[in-house]
Symmetry: D2
């Protein structure tokens, strides 16, 4: 007997789990994103720990806007690897065309969730490509990561913004200031 098709209903846990699973499948270890965060923030917070960085990366990944951008970007990378895109789009994504900026647009939808203070950190890591970003951006390695490298940089920038907001709150509590 056939199973009747259930009406669509968003299942947030499935979307969240798929986001983490696909980052993993595409070779992204969350610890490597945490390392980018540490690189961006340690000069401001000398006592910042890798645990805190990782925890903030995990929190960023719980935001639905972030999950939507991650899944959509990885999807386009995969389809480009499989050669399944409209030829003109295929060419631009496969070759990480400089005048194709949809990857930056998806990245910005991630950064925006934690506000404009993350813009600078995003641009900085996206230009310098430290750590994991160098590997993701290496065109000689086979997989296409036109979207993923920008997305990973954006997650790191967002986690950095989240830390800046949290550290301010901690400071105010320590100073005995009334909380908001």
């Amino acid at each position: 007997m056939e199973q009747p098709k259930l009406p669509y209903s968003l299942n947030s846990k499935k979307v969240a789990d798929a986001t983490r699973a696909w980052l993993h499948k595409r070779g992204v270890n969350l610890n490597e994103i945490a390392e980018l965060v540490m690189m961006l923030q340690q000069k401001y917070y000398p006592n910042l720990t890798m645990e805190e960085c990782l925890d903030n990366v995990e929190k960023v990944l719980l935001k639905r806007e972030v999950q939507n951008a991650v899944l959509t970007g990885i999807q386009l990378d995969i389809l480009a690897e499989q050669g399944l895109l409209i030829p003109e789009l295929q060419d631009m994504i496969e070759n990480d065309e400089g005048l194709y900026g949809v990857d930056e647009i998806l990245a910005f939808s991630i950064v925006n969730v934690y506000g404009s203070i993350g813009f600078t950190n995003y641009g900085y890591v996206d230009k310098l490509k430290p750590g994991i970003l160098e590997r993701l951006n290496d065109k000689s390695l086979g997989p296409i990561h036109t979207f993923l490298d920008d997305i990973v940089g954006a997650i790191a920038a967002s986690a950095s913004s989240r830390i800046a907001h949290r550290k301010q709150a901690e400071r105010e509590v320590q100073n005995g200031e009334p909380s908001v």
Copy 2:
């Protein structure tokens, strides 16, 4: 004996309080923003209450990006009323020049915090100017609200996005789905 000047340190509570105080001083009652939210959302959530709408408006106002945009926008409105701006800027803000879009830009920095799903609601209320927005936009009444009307619409759109996210979470809990 003179009081030595204390080094600057952000006081989040003061910024949050100033945001609410200035909205009030400029004639914005949070209940009126809640009414915009109700107007935008009741067709999707027939059981939505004014208390929920107001509560979501209050939560939006706790976000620092929102506070920054509110204070900056109201500041520019006030200075335009006082005639204190650079003449060319004075002219554009005083007359709500159609080709001056910094008011929309500040409004968007508010909407963005709750993600792109608020874009449409913002544009819709900003065009139709229902309720409080009609009053704020009435040029015959004296005060200049070039920024404030867009900001109020953006707060309503953000609160609407926040409700959409919350309602989905409630639905999943009711369905006994595992939470994220």
Copy 3:
């Protein structure tokens, strides 16, 4: 003998042509976008003609950011129709999930090119869904247009912004003001 693969080099004309061809294949007639523009702008410019509206739509389509967004959005719609997406993404795009906002993000990358004055027009048509947008948004008709309806609204909003800028320039020339 095999044809050696040519090194990649962006061909702008091909991208521009593909953009127009795919809009056509997906059932979008540029005249229908021009009608949206007319609807948005005629109250401000009573002498505005359909020719002008169409001409402005055509000019918007020459912008590369616009072409990138159009091709990427249509691509995702098509792949959703074919059921080729990651299951969680497939579900969200196929059902035009309210909490999936990448369609609005791509639309905004179009509107942004002509500046923030288009934000309001975009939100307005996206909410009211007049003319062609009603058809594109009708879920009973078969094709998936989760991205395309937002993109068409964004092109109309951009063309409206372009007209607002041009009309101001015309007015200044008529007034004999020195040009910039």
Copy 4:
């Protein structure tokens, strides 16, 4: 006999002229912005000249969105110098508070006009603060440039994007490809 007040009508030339005049008054030489552009672009275009960089900076400054952001940002810097702002806003702008991001938001409205490909360049120069940005960002020098340093970086990033688009067009013409 009193001069009757003329009805308001935007004068684009005045706005454009004020933009250039105020950049100059605030110590910004357009050649210094051109130097930032050269720094960002010379590795991609070894034959790029300072004349081209300067010409592209000038073209960016003709865009109204850019003029609006420049005038509004400089205005807020000046008022902060004069101590005329709402106390909480005064504190944040005077001290270039890290959690105040309206300066980045205005900067982004400039970058956006030339599309998302400028995001990275903006973030990069804003983080490294080369050349003129180091001077503008030096808090020991007196003037407050909380907005201006981000705005100057954004103009340089926009001019870089403009160059990238133009160079592609030139390349295609040289290759004898049909133009769009």
